[in-house]
């Protein structure tokens, strides 16, 4: 029962640098990750609005485009290569620096130790290193915007040969692509550090009485997500090194013989572009579960809290998280149905892909089951959790089409795919982050966020994202390919422009609405209504300590857990909730 962390918990840190910059405190590190994600999401959103603008007004002259990108937008008109670069950076920044940071390393870092009754993570120094390494990765990624040639244009998936032969294959494929790979490799290192920390902490530092099957579902999701990260990011790192070698050292891991790019015959031999896809998606599929599992944990936590009911089927929910995590390693080929890989393996991957739909469905049914018979309180946090369920259903459902290779014969690389992953990652996962923010803000700051602003932001965003991303499915059914800078070269796409225009307007409007959230977040830190230490009458351990918590969380005490995580409305109990550390 000894804590590896005990020796560092004897005294609170002093000095500005030690307290706020190179802090070893998991709470400070969690906040650092969170704000890194907030910065990244606004950057990623700005890129997406530029993209949507260009798709609908490809010939528009915008003078500030020329100021920012003189070669990419001469005369203020965005070139297709600039569009593709913005698209590449949009996807990369959102997937890595938003969805792989805040849900896991932001909320998880802050609340995993507290929810299991620990003073800090198992390895506080490693924790600090993991944040600053992530920060370094972000610096390198942003630097890719400013290097000669500009940012890469091969998409966040960086398929070779496009990404492997250097500037021959397109602008941005020189230094920009190299910086991209280096940034991702650094990010992999940071993620591996974080994953080790989360796993060790969960296994080793749980309070007395907190068995695994008494852990809040947030802790389960952070734990399984960390395992996915450990195994997945290791492979991505290897792939990135191989790609860098192909680009810089003349190797041919991904490059076959007989290449003639831009009229130049290349001297490579023996490599396979498909190898990159296997390696990338072996990481890439677990990655999307890394992006969504923490949000599912938060949804479960909030639905129980604000329905005043235990989660429906806690055991099934745990098995579903484990099932999603485990099966998630065996479905990567569904990103490659059309790739030229063996069609028999496509069949195998599709059976496994459909199987993953089963634990996801279990979770959805159980969320609705949790609400059934409840006493639902519509705080902003709860609204976002409910919105998460709706968006998860919508986004997940389109996966049933894409998981069938027979149907993928049409839908691969169309907007149907873009709609699917945006609904699930670009919205449901983000709603998980919003929900967590409103829920835990009172614990972190001792103040509430403003509920009126929160509700306005919620409703406008909820309707806004449905308006942006549902029409993409109709574009996909019409056969509109993805990653097109504009749609002016094809007759059949001309008829689809009204949909694109509608989506662009919805995107601009929804982006503007996000500033309500940003204002609410910063304003409430200083001016929010003061909150008691357990404003939601919730049961988990974070609600037993002061807001904000002392540097070692439990002020030297070791909580003992006697109850499960969601004992709400227990018949015969004096209150409608029993805290986990209440007497047995």
């Amino acid at each position: 029962m000894s804590s590896p962390v005990m020796h560092s918990a004897h005294h609170a840190p002093t000095g500005f640098i030690r307290r706020y910059i190179f802090s070893l405190d998991h709470k400070v590190i969690g906040i650092q990750y969170y704000f890194l994600a907030v910065f990244s999401v606004f950057l990623g959103m700005a890129l997406s609005v530029l993209m949507r603008f260009h798709m609908v007004y490809p010939d528009a002259k915008v003078s500030f485009f020329e100021k920012l990108w003189p070669t990419g937008a001469p005369g203020g008109i965005m070139t297709p290569e600039l569009y593709l670069s913005l698209m590449t950076m949009h996807g990369t920044i959102m997937v890595f620096f938003v969805l792989t940071t805040a849900p896991q390393s932001g909320f998880g870092n802050y609340f995993l130790p507290i929810q299991i009754g620990a003073e800090d993570m198992a390895f506080p120094v490693l924790n600090m290193l993991s944040f600053w390494t992530t920060f370094l990765a972000l610096i390198v990624m942003v630097a890719a915007f400013f290097v000669p040639g500009g940012p890469p244009l091969a998409g966040w998936t960086a398929y070779p040969p496009l990404s492997a032969v250097g500037p021959l294959s397109g602008p941005g494929e020189g230094l920009g692509q190299t910086f991209w790979i280096i940034s991702i490799a650094i990010f992999c290192g940071a993620s591996l550090m974080g994953a080790i920390n989360f796993i060790a902490t969960t296994i080793d530092l749980r309070a007395r009485g907190l068995s695994m099957m008494r852990m809040p579902l947030t802790c389960w999701s952070w734990f399984v997500t960390a395992i996915l990260g450990l195994l997945g990011f290791a492979v991505l790192l290897a792939a990135g090194v191989l790609l860098l070698l192909d680009r810089l050292a003349g190797t041919s891991f991904f490059l076959p013989a007989g290449l003639m790019v831009n009229d130049q015959i290349l001297n490579h031999k023996g490599g396979s572009p498909l190898l990159w896809q296997h390696l990338f998606w072996f990481f890439g599929h677990p990655e999307v579960y890394i992006a969504i599992l923490p949000g599912m944990g938060v949804a479960s936590q909030l639905l129980a809290t604000f329905s005043r009911k235990p989660i429906f089927g806690y055991r099934a929910m745990v098995y579903a998280i484990l099932g999603i995590g485990f099966l998630g390693f065996f479905v990567w080929g569904h990103h490659m149905f059309m790739s030229g890989m063996n069609p028999y393996s496509a069949f195998a991957f599709s059976i496994l892909t459909m199987s993953i739909g089963v634990p996801s469905a279990i979770k959805t049914f159980n969320w609705i089951g949790t609400l059934w018979g409840g006493r639902i309180q519509f705080t902003t946090a709860m609204l976002f959790a409910l919105g998460f369920v709706s968006l998860f259903v919508t986004g997940g459902i389109s996966g049933i089409f894409l998981g069938q290779p027979a149907l993928d014969l049409y839908f691969h690389d169309t907007y149907f795919v873009v709609g699917h992953f945006h609904m699930i990652m670009g919205v449901a996962a983000i709603f998980g982050m919003f929900a967590g923010t409103f829920y835990w803000f009172p614990k972190v700051t001792g103040r509430f966020m403003n509920e009126t602003l929160g509700k306005i932001h919620f409703y406008l965003t909820f309707i806004g994202v449905y308006c942006i991303f549902t029409p993409m499915h109709f574009l996909g059914i019409s056969g509109n390919p993805r990653r097109y800078a504009d749609f002016t070269n094809f007759d059949f796409m001309g008829k689809l422009m009204p949909i694109h225009t509608f989506m662009t307007h919805a995107a601009i409007g929804t982006m503007v609405v996000q500033f309500i959230f940003l204002f609410n977040l910063f304003w409430s830190i200083k001016k929010g209504k003061p909150a008691p230490i357990n404003p939601w009458n919730a049961t988990t351990l974070e609600w037993t300590i002061p807001s904000p918590p002392p540097f070692d969380n439990f002020a030297g005490k070791h909580p003992v857990v006697n109850h499960g995580p969601y004992e709400y409305s227990v018949p015969g109990a004096p209150k409608d909730y029993i805290m986990q550390s209440d007497p047995a």
Binding site: P80, E81, L84, L153, G155, Y159, P161, L162, V165, S169, G170, P171, G258, L259, M260, P273, L274, G313, A316, M338, S339, P343, M354, S355, G357, V358, A361, I362, T364, I368, L371, W372, G373, R375, I376, F378, L386, G387, S390, T394, Q404, P405, A406, L407, L409, Y410, H412, D413, F462, Y466, L475, S478, G479, P481, R483, A485, F492, L496, I499, Y568
Partner: protein, 261 residues
């Protein structure tokens, strides 16, 4: 509580647009296309009903179980329900993919019929080229060093190989209706993808691989072909057409091309 009706309205609007087929597939031009559409429709009904019921249920619980005082029902779940809805989901999802396997098998497990018309496809940044074997029925060897796009030799047909002398090169692909066609797909530089909406078919074209792909088009017409794998700055301009011709017209075209050599 307002969220309940909001979810219902969004659900109804979405269902309305899906049922109304406002922006939809173009009509299919092959038997594969018809089989595809049947599988899509089956999937749409299954998922549509699940989507509808799940969202309506969500809206319903939001409205019915809003806090009006009283006590919530203390329950940790219901194992029977879990087993029932888990099994139902598994049967439906796996059933769907098994039903579609016949379609996938017909495209990819079976080889092209022996009498299929062979056409070579060559994709490069940012144009398509197609090659027919000509009257001798044989494709000439190719040599990368003899590639000459401006001079009309995108395939790099080797001028030392007599079999290549009568090969017909075209920037668009023409096929006879009602006859199986086998494409042999190659790329010179990066990954591209050949997609014809009306055929309901697409295939990545990967450098270093020669990928066979067969289909049969039954309806005369001209159909746009958009490259469907990101290939660089000209990806959105990489267009060609598939022209399906009456067999007699196709023969005439072939003969005209041969005569010009």
């Amino acid at each position: 509580m307002l969220l309940g009706p909001v979810v219902w309205v969004l659900t109804l609007v979405i269902c309305y647009f899906f049922l109304g087929h406002y922006w939809w597939f173009p009509p299919p031009i092959s038997q594969h296309g018809q089989a595809y559409d049947a599988q899509f429709t089956a999937t749409l009904w299954v998922t549509g009903i699940i989507f509808f019921l799940a969202q309506i249920a969500l809206g319903y619980v939001i409205i019915k179980f809003r806090d009006r005082g009283g006590t919530a029902r203390y329950s940790h779940g219901n194992n029977v329900l879990e087993v029932v809805w888990t099994s139902a989901t598994a049967v439906l999802f796996i059933g769907l993919v098994l039903a579609g396997t016949r379609i996938w098998a017909a495209v990819h497990f079976e080889e092209a019929p022996a009498d299929a018309l062979k056409i070579e496809v060559m994709a490069k940044q940012f144009a398509w080229s197609f090659r027919y074997p000509g009257p001798d029925g044989k494709f000439g060897k190719t040599d990368l060093k003899q590639v000459n796009d401006q001079g009309g030799n995108p395939f790099g047909i080797d001028d030392k190989d007599p079999a290549g002398k009568d090969d017909i090169t075209s920037a668009s692909i023409k096929v006879p209706a009602g006859r199986p066609v086998e494409l042999i797909m190659r790329s010179r530089d990066v990954i591209h993808n050949f997609f014809v909406r009306e055929l309901r078919l697409k295939q990545d074209i990967v450098p270093g691989m020669e990928i066979p792909f067969h289909f049969q088009a039954d309806q005369v017409g001209t159909y746009e072909v958009p490259c469907s794998e990101l290939c660089g700055l000209g990806h959105h301009q990489m267009r060609t057409t598939l022209e399906v011709m009456a067999p007699a017209d196709f023969q005439k075209w072939l003969q005209e091309q041969a005569a010009q050599k």
